[in-house]
């Protein structure tokens, strides 16, 4: 009903009002249902409930046990999911098996790696996935891992990372080092509910752990960089309206900065613009420092601002305070 009524040509204002009411109530119901689901599943995985169930199991008679058993699949599913989540939160990189549905593939069993990155607002970004396949090189006995598919943003060169850490052709690294690394990796993932899928024939010179570590570092650094830019934009009051000049100058942002944004998606370079026409650009390192800065005013390079930006370790977070100190 409300779908049809939603059209704007509905003439009766009263009807429209009722429609909006219905819509908002439906939304409310949905919200509450959502919340209920979250709460029930959270409740199922609580430790108290588990211990309670366990103690009940020991004490109760046989008939009551069956009713408890009905409940147990739910609790086991919930608790296994919780521990998966704990691994994802704590380690950030977990592995899982995946089966390639393609009938023509020679490597149907893929090793999936999931990387979780926590963003500034306390939420997790969409997980990143890499799927690795095992392939036998020419004249080799052991199988080696190769990147099959991934969801890493294009500015991080998975190809180059793969070339360095998962070389497909024969390398010259020492065997023992990477082997011990690998076993560590197995421990991390294996203790979790996520099973390691077919990591057996891993080539000796390949260092999966380092590959994942570097990749994750790069992803985290990217998120940190864009979060830092976002944080400074927030501080400058540039988030909501796009640089209303009079307002920005007087109330929210006494530095007179009207533009502060990353030049591209990877948030490596940040462009700053003042309302009096001064502009600047700086490079942000993976560790959150300003690596290089160029600021221009009417007469050319503005060394004072550049010094201020680079001073004191050049932390991005305190950039505005340093700029304030010179203005």
């Amino acid at each position: 009903m409300s779908h049809k009524m939603r059209q704007r040509d509905s003439p009766d204002p009263e009807e429209q009002e009722l429609d909006t009411d219905i819509r908002s109530i439906r939304a409310e119901i949905q919200t509450l249902q959502h919340r209920k689901r979250i709460l029930t599943t959270s409740l199922l995985s609580t430790k108290t409930l588990k211990t309670h169930l366990n103690s009940a199991k020991q004490q109760q008679s046989q008939q009551q046990l069956s009713s408890l058993n009905d409940l147990s699949p739910l609790t086991t599913a919930a608790s296994s999911h919780t521990s998966t989540n704990h691994h994802r939160i704590a380690f950030g990189a977990t592995s899982f098996p995946f089966k390639d549905p393609s009938p023509n593939t020679t490597t149907p069993n893929l090793l999936g790696i999931r990387i979780d990155v926590c963003a500034r607002n306390g939420r997790f970004a969409k997980p990143y996935y890499i799927l690795l396949r095992q392939e036998r090189g020419r004249g080799e006995k052991t199988k080696r891992l190769r990147v099959h598919r991934h969801t890493i943003p294009a500015f991080i060169s998975v190809d180059r990372l793969e070339g360095t850490y998962l070389p497909f052709t024969r390398g010259k690294d020492d065997d023992s080092g990477s082997d011990s690394d690998d076993s560590d990796d197995d421990d991390d993932a294996g203790s979790g509910p996520v099973k390691k899928g077919g990591g057996k024939g891993r080539g000796k010179k390949q260092d999966l752990l380092a590959f994942v570590r570097e990749l994750r570092r790069e992803l985290v650094a990217w998120h940190l960089r864009s979060d830092a830019v976002e944080f400074l934009r927030e501080k400058l009051g540039l988030l909501r309206d796009d640089g209303d000049e009079e307002d920005g100058e007087t109330s929210r942002n006494d530095l007179g900065i009207v533009g502060f944004e990353a030049t591209a998606l990877e948030a490596r370079y940040v462009r700053v613009e003042w309302e009096d026409g001064r502009i600047g650009r700086f490079k942000l390192s993976n560790s959150g420092k300003v690596e290089r800065a160029v600021f221009m005013n009417d007469r050319g390079r503005d060394k004072q601002v550049e010094d201020a930006v680079m001073r004191g370790g050049g932390r991005i977070e305190s950039l505005l305070e340093r700029l304030k100190s010179i203005s």
Binding site: D116, T151, E266
Partner: protein, 496 residues
């Protein structure tokens, strides 16, 4: 308004922005009438904006000119720019046809001609409105390793910047570099603009084979589509797209009568080859690599060769790109109990906006309509479908992931497949005629075309025409290409 007799000397400079094409050129009317009415009005107002008006000034009443024949014209010249602006704002509210607006532009306010820049803006506006109006080819920029890699360099690995594989581009300096690459060969006009609808920077290059600043060619040549190349640079990824050459054979024949260098095709190739050179810097060289993808739709290219997650996980793997499989680690619900739809939607808001406490609610408020719809459709199909077709639906879902569904649209308009299988590859009867069959590779080419090829194959699979379990993965769009050589169901690289 007779032009002063100027000395014409060949230069290497680019064609000036303010080079005017006489507004009597019929081709101009054609170009402008491709645009919609609101787009035309928008465009005229953009031309009149403060920072544009210098390069595209409208015709104003001369200060002390007597009103000789001005009055008799249908569009008397305005006195100030503000007046012209107001005229177009008024036109917006008034009911009048597109024709009238074009007439006003060409015979009234820009009667002295449309500048090259204005023409470029009109073309780009058209591109924004109709992202599927051109055919695009995606190319990859590959960094050339100038230093041969040595084994002793392991110490520096940690300092390597893995996210530095994209050429850094500063628009104006890139255009300058490109100009100096092309200039000795052809004369060109460059216009660089940001797409208003997509995360793209589009460079429009108009090429002409004349060394002179004010070419004496027919004015029609300025609207000749074969002389225009569009290059689109998506943000933060090592790809770029060029508009493909769409010459009709007749037009091609007429232009090739001249020397080879004047053929638009050659000119376009020159420009294309100059791009990696213009992006390169000392010790930082790039080359071009074809990516076997051409499509009509810019959003498709962005999805398949763009900065995002879906660039290298398509087909069955699109569930990862859209993260339709699992939720955030903070979600207490086991992931198999949550619909894929919800996984994908719930996350969109997550990394970017809103404070976390309230973020769930706007999401939830969007849900009712869609999820009930989904449930309804699911239940009706479930109710009527046999277990066989249910199994098929699951198979289709596992093969196609989210591709071809309405949630992640990346329509391919054409898919060319060349099968390289030899005849005796899998049939035993021909084992005895090995000596003949070994060389017998029939040339089998398949060409699919339509508005959404992969989506169509998915539909066929859902209807049971195509066996979803046995079909090769190129049919699911997993390879994300539009031309492929296939051997034994797998894509192979064929040189040449």
């Amino acid at each position: 308004m007779a032009r002063l007799k100027t000395v014409r000397a060949p230069t290497t400079a680019s064609l000036p922005n303010n080079l005017r094409i006489p507004s009597t050129t019929p081709a101009l009317t054609k170009t402008l009438s491709k645009l919609s009415r609101p787009a035309l009005l928008d465009l005229a107002l953009i031309w009149l904006e403060d920072h544009n008006v210098k390069s595209s000034p409208p015709y104003l009443q001369p200060e002390n000119a007597g009103d000789n024949d001005e009055e008799t014209l249908p569009y008397p010249a305005a006195e100030t720019i503000a007046e012209v602006r107001q005229a177009y704002i008024d036109l917006r509210d008034r009911k009048c046809g597109k024709r009238e607006i074009i007439e006003r532009i060409l015979e009234g306010d820009w009667r002295h001609g449309i500048s090259l820049r204005q023409l470029a803006m009109a073309d780009l506006r058209y591109l924004d409105d109709r992202p599927a109006s051109l055919r695009w080819t995606a190319l990859e920029l590959n960094r050339l390793d100038t230093k041969p890699k040595k084994k002793g360099e392991d110490t520096s690995i940690s300092e390597l910047d893995w996210s530095a594989n994209i050429p850094r581009m500063q628009a104006t300096s890139f255009v300058k570099a490109l100009q100096s690459e092309i200039a000795p060969l052809v004369k060109a006009h460059y216009h660089l603009a940001r797409s208003s609808t997509l995360p793209l920077t589009i460079l429009r290059i108009f090429i002409i084979d004349s060394p002179y600043q004010t070419p004496r060619q027919q004015p029609e040549i300025f609207t000749d589509a074969t002389r225009i190349i569009y290059i689109a640079f998506p943000d933060s990824c090592p790809y770029f797209y060029t508009s493909s050459i769409t010459t009709s054979p007749a037009a091609n024949a007429s232009t090739t009568t001249g020397s080879i260098a004047t053929d638009p095709r050659t000119l376009q190739r020159l420009v294309r080859e100059a791009i990696p050179k213009a992006l390169s810097r000392p010790h930082d060289r790039f080359t071009l690599k074809p990516t076997a993808l051409a499509a009509k739709n810019l959003p498709t290219l962005l999805a398949l060769r763009g900065p995002g997650r879906s660039t290298s996980s398509n087909g069955a793997f699109s569930i990862f790109a859209d993260s339709a499989l699992e939720g955030s680690p903070l979600d207490p619900r086991p992931s198999n109990t949550v619909s894929a739809d919800e996984h994908m939607r719930g996350r969109d808001a997550a990394p970017m906006n809103e404070d976390k406490e309230n973020a769930d609610y706007p999401d939830a408020s969007v849900k009712p309509v869609r999820s009930t719809k989904k449930r309804q459709s699911g239940s009706t199909t479930d109710g009527t479908l046999s277990p066989d077709s249910k199994k098929r639906r699951l198979a289709v879902e596992s093969r196609f992931g989210t591709v071809g569904s309405s949630i992640a649209p990346a329509p391919l308009d054409r898919l060319d497949i060349r099968l390289l299988d030899t005849l005796n590859a899998n049939s035993e009867e021909e084992a005895d005629s090995d000596r003949n069959a070994a060389t017998l590779t029939p040339a089998v080419s398949l060409t699919f075309s339509g508005s959404d090829v992969i989506g169509g194959i998915r539909k066929l699979a859902e209807m049971g025409v195509v066996d979803p379990e046995r079909m090769p993965s190129w049919m699911t769009g997993e390879e994300a290409v539009s031309t492929a050589f296939i051997r034994a169901g797998k894509r192979v690289q064929v040189d040449g």
